[in-house]
Subunit: 81 residues, 2 copies
């Protein structure tokens, strides 16, 4: 699948964040669908976020962080951002 946001993400920041989200989700024992539902984010959109294909918004970052039991700043730090 084409990464829509890739042309803006030459440093791989969205990919690093997606990996950090996936790692935290798995550590929490959640499926991707369960995390999407807990965060109130469309399941397809969540898949694209985890693959670094979407330039997510701050409020969606906050929702994902909350659903994985982290602060948004901690999730970014995990992604080396």
């Amino acid at each position: 699948m084409v990464r829509i946001a890739a042309h803006q993400d030459t440093d791989g920041r969205l990919i690093r964040l997606g990996v950090a989200i996936r790692n935290k989700r798995k550590a929490a024992g959640l499926s991707q669908e369960a995390l999407a539902d807990a965060a109130g984010i469309d399941r397809s959109h969540m898949g694209k976020i985890e693959r670094g294909e979407r330039n997510l918004t701050l409020l969606n970052l906050c929702r994902i962080a909350s659903a994985t039991g982290l602060r948004p700043s901690e999730l970014l730090k995990d992604a080396d951002l």
Copy 2:
């Protein structure tokens, strides 16, 4: 002016981030226009971000953080996020 993103931001997270960005910008001795230009963000959009009126994207958060000499995670931490 109506805050477009306010209906999604019941906890004032965008407003807190806007205040943190403004404080860091002033501490760096930058005008709002200079920060917008340094971050490659439209000046009008930057004004709305500082007022908490826009749900900014992760890559714009990274650009603003870089222009103020911070990491994105530090900027969120400053905003208590």
